[in-house]
Symmetry: C2
Subunit: 430 residues, 2 copies
Amino acid sequence: MSKLVPPHGGKGLVIRLLEGAERDAELKKAEGLKKIEISAQEKGDLIMIGIGGFSPLDGFMTKADWKSVCENFTLADGTFWPVPVMCSVTDEDAAAVNVGDEVALERDGEIFATLKVEEKFSLSDDEKKWESEMVYKGNGEDSEKFWDVALEDHPGVQMVMARGNEYLAGPVNVLSEGDYKTNPKYLGMYLRPAETRAIFEERGWSTVAAMQLRNPMHRSHEHLCKIALDVCDGVIIHSLIGNLKPGDIPAEVRLKCIDTLVDGYFVKEHVVQGGYPLDMRYAGPREGLLHATFRQNYGVNRMIIGRDHAGVGDFYTLFEAQEIFDKIPYQGEECPDPGKKLLCEPLKIDWTFYCFKCDGMASMRTCPHGKDDRVILSGTKLRKALSEGAEVPDHFGRDEVLVILRDYYENLTEKVEIKMQKAASGQEMK
Amino acid sequence: MSKLVPPHGGKGLVIRLLEGAERDAELKKAEGLKKIEISAQEKGDLIMIGIGGFSPLDGFMTKADWKSVCENFTLADGTFWPVPVMCSVTDEDAAAVNVGDEVALERDGEIFATLKVEEKFSLSDDEKKWESEMVYKGNGEDSEKFWDVALEDHPGVQMVMARGNEYLAGPVNVLSEGDYKTNPKYLGMYLRPAETRAIFEERGWSTVAAMQLRNPMHRSHEHLCKIALDVCDGVIIHSLIGNLKPGDIPAEVRLKCIDTLVDGYFVKEHVVQGGYPLDMRYAGPREGLLHATFRQNYGVNRMIIGRDHAGVGDFYTLFEAQEIFDKIPYQGEECPDPGKKLLCEPLKIDWTFYCFKCDGMASMRTCPHGKDDRVILSGTKLRKALSEGAEVPDHFGRDEVLVILRDYYENLTEKVEIKMQKAASGQEMK
């Protein structure tokens, strides 16, 4: 029997990805169906549903699920779930589709799934505003203040408000994983939940921690992983390889940094590297919960949650993504149906940094020294130094990783310069 | 309701220490009872029973308990317990005492307890040999090889075999805590389980780790505590302040080292310092289990178990004290009565050291580098360097602690030299 945490929802891994002859037949059928264009986020969600990463979801949410998720952190049936997973369509498409229809979901000319329409529903702008507040507003933040800046500054809210008002709900059959498995830029790191589970089991692990990454892996991330390594059987360094904000560092550079760091500074038998196909939702604390939820499906039972996990600008307090784990349903109480409860627990770790007096990495919980003794590691600060070609302070990062990042930023600058020269000389900018 | 782990045994803290008028009356009665001289170990056990540190024990074990503890790691009633806690008496005393009698237990002229004799029993030399093998022999060690060296080299076995063959069992009323609360050399660090629980509760802790110390606190101990601090609400640095082997460093020096280290390198609000009144049993892995068992009574639910925890010479493999936690009753299975199960779990941590390439403290689980990159921290090595006045390598310890230890060893050397001079000049040696 597996010693790993069971998938979320009590139904095992709910796999909706078709393969082989089944896929071929479904694809053939799909080509004859009405086509609906999906967003990048929906594409990522579909692949996750396909590979069981979003178990027990078997498709896109109904309005009852949407309402319950926003309000209670559960699906309508009471199963814990932290964020809406929905299929938005244009008014025209909605008008052309009836409950009971099957439609094909495509993006950039590729059919990603078929959807059996079980429900068609609308969300008014007010309902989308309500969703935005429920999902994206920081704990204790004033509603009025939130709206003063949310539309301008919160990419998650922007995505919700940019969505249409019409939605289709129902189970999907997923037909593609995009190029995650085949494109060499992902270094073979894209893994399905069944694959990570098989690796963990082969290694005999039962306590598995996950490190969430959407930025290059810095020394503070390394330290979080190492704290987890000392108290768990193993760690998966698990990178978002879907879409980020413009200006963020692309997956291939980030994966190369991780690979280099693992190569030089980790004991390989205790570490697994992986990538998952989602886009960032920029949902702050709720996104932290989503990270734990799908990690449970990957076989992880300890989700590392550090300082400002999945943070967005100044929308959340530094440890709000830790605190939210104490506020969700079924925590600290008997759950009548353990399948409904989130079983992947947070591994809450404080702000970490290098401290000269401690003579090593430390955290606010372990180090009593002052600001002047510490080299505070922040991705933002490092990004600034590297993109300006400035010196990076000692102990701030690992040299081998800084080389990769410096190289990336130098090329970026060169590209920008070339573009600017071309623009100046009248050539078209791409 | 307390968020702390309940005391072991399901009966709350079983307190047998009398105080105030009750104590005065019992002491008066005791002075008229037959006096029995107890060993240093029995004195420590009595104080632990008195203050609830050995809950649910209310006195010394019967032969059925002894047998079950040795064989099954449980009292006769099925409650987990790792080592015998017995009252040995001389043949003469045994002959003079009958079941139903009350006797007074004294040491160095002080009455420590009264014992209501519920059972009188004998252990043959063969039974004591059996106990020695069950309790002290390393896992997988050959019985013959064990006995080749045990009598010579194993202080735990020596104590068992030096015990008499007659025993008294029954509940006790404890009348004294010795000088632990009053002697300034303990720096006020002796705390009862009810006291540590009150401190933890006041601080709102629920996950509390304990660091066991019987040697000066070195940097590797500090690192273990800090790993625990990053993942628990708090840590108690809990020193044995009873008797050790001759040549070990006395409690007052060890407590001063800890105090200095906590002062300079810990965030005080997350740390409690404490002392407990037991002697070392030198029982290796079984002693590790005892450490967890009584820590549960102190309110601790994570017992830090590092490399060679409670090790004795070469009798045990380096991580045997971690592995034994997987072999005791009720682990990984439903226990029909949770009171019977050990609820304080091990926090297993690998061999730790300073690594130049990692640029800080690391463990075998986190550091992939080689021997030459590491400063391996061993108490034995440090003791040797300090007692010979040799240099201590960089990163090996904290300067403030090394000063205290150097000072201790220098005075020790001076004392030895004075003794030798006195001996040479014909003065009596003390």
